[in-house]
Amino acid sequence: MSTTVKKSPLNRAALEFKSSTFSVPVLVLSGNVPDVIQEQLEKKIGLAPDFFKNSPVVFDLQALNKQGLPIDVAMLADILRKSKLMPIGIRGGTQSQVEIAASLHIPVYSVHNSFSETGSFHQDKDKTEPQPETQKTTINTLVNHPIRSGQRVYSAGDLTVTAQVSAGSELFAEGSIHVYGSLRGRALAGVQGNANARIFCLDLQAELISIAGNYKISEDLQGHLRNRPVQIYLQENSLIIKDLV
């Protein structure tokens, strides 16, 4: 065991750089009105307050800048912090936005950098079969072990779990969620608003399912579709649950 702090001989290494990947939510802005941003942000966070509390976030200004909409980066960072998010990066910013960010100690990420889209359990390249419902990204986060009560997983793209998902756990995906086992926890697909996201599972016993903010709780899920393989999608703002086979 290497936990003891020995009076170190000179050659004993005190540190080491390791490469790790983290899954960090990206906030893609498409409007620049501060009040509206704040209001919509609060609404989204309200869906999963525990998950977002003190969560790091990278904000993406590419869409704004394409529309030529200016935004005050310092003010945006303030809004995020007020909502208990921790801005840890900017991407898609203009030269001056990037400079302001740097002066606020917010690192810059390039749009092509996969940093923000890589889950910690991410297994590379499922790129041969892009899912039609996730135009934004084809990154798939794969989890090969059970997700236990109290655990949370966030995917910036699709999320595939090849084991069970326990009651008391939470899955979030900007794209679709696939569970090859029992789904007993909460599953929120399309958390950034993708209404085409879907949820698939082999055994529906979920505490809550949600697609792009439209949700049903366990109580609404009684009846013949429980304990069966189903897919769940959004049609005219209502959740449809259908037998998979």
Binding site: M1, T3, T4, V5, R148, Q164, S166, G168, R184
Partner: protein, 269 residues
């Protein structure tokens, strides 16, 4: 190098200490030098179950804070020469345990022992976290009821994400299910979850089922780990668990209702 086993559960009162004492005794009786450590600072009772409470001079906290040497604090079991107990302090508060201190004690014990059994306190706070942090194997003690199963599930999540092995990207902790206080009659009445129900929820390797048994209470009153009561069902069930852990293949017992000797012997699935 020793193998470090944590006996954990999340929920309190499910049989962790009973299991720690029995398993440690079982391993020692099979010829492996074993230490069992009480991590329940402030609520110690492993020493009572092991029947060594009157021989406690120094404890785990004394060792960590440098007030005693490990050898001074280890108590040799009176039934088995290969078994040693490291008792918890009754008087100190939980903050006396530090990750660094625990790591050092385990490292020192590892040089001399084959197995180290860590009896975790209930909950998911610091004491429970330290008990499991260095583990190689986890015995997740669960009672056949919903709240206990849920807490075990939570503990499994913590084992797979907050342990040393998880943090250092090593091979993950081996997790085993120990289902205790099982009562086939009450399962049949629908008062308790069945083995299958629990397995279905936790999807975990079942190491064994310990029946609800009066022998557990009498053993703890006598200060003798129940595994030494070879005639008792609970004692035999713990013996099976130790054998299975060491690689033996034994059919599961005590899962079916009592129906005579054959039902008992061949009751496993």
């Amino acid at each position: 190098m020793a193998r470090i086993i944590v006996v954990t559960s999340g929920k309190g009162g499910v049989g962790k200490t009973t299991t720690s004492a029995a398993v440690a005794m079982g391993l020692a009786k099979k010829g492996h030098k074993t230490a069992v450590i009480d991590f329940d600072v402030g609520l110690r009772n492993l020493d009572l179950i092991m029947g060594c409470e009157r021989r406690v001079v120094y404890d785990f906290v004394n060792v960590i804070s440098g007030e005693a040497l490990l050898n001074q604090a280890l108590i040799r079991d009176k039934h088995c020469d290969l078994l040693y107990v490291l008792p918890a302090s009754q008087t100190r508060d939980k903050d006396a345990l530090t990750q660094e201190g625990v790591g050092k004690v385990l490292e020192d014990l590892s040089k001399d022992f084959k197995y180290i059994v860590c009896d975790s306190p209930a909950g998911i706070e610091k004491g429970a976290h330290l008990a499991m942090y260095f583990a190689d194997d986890a015995f997740v003690v669960t009672n056949p009821e919903v709240s206990s199963v849920r807490d075990s599930d939570r503990m499994l999540g913590i084992l797979s994400s907050k342990s040393r092995r998880a943090e250092q990207n090593l091979e993950s902790i081996k997790e085993y299910l120990v289902l205790t206080r099982y009562s086939p009659d009450r399962v049949k009445l629908g008062d308790m979850l069945s083995v299958d129900d629990v397995q279905d929820i936790l999807s975990l390797h079942l190491l064994g089922v310990i029946p609800e048994s009066k022998s557990v209470l009498s053993a703890s009153n006598a200060g003798v780990p129940v595994i030494l009561d070879e005639k008792s069902d609970a004692g035999q069930a713990y013996e099976d668990i130790v054998a299975r852990y060491l690689g033996e293949n034994r059919p599961h017992r005590f899962i079916e209702e009592k129906k005579g000797i054959f039902g008992k012997l061949f009751g496993g699935k």
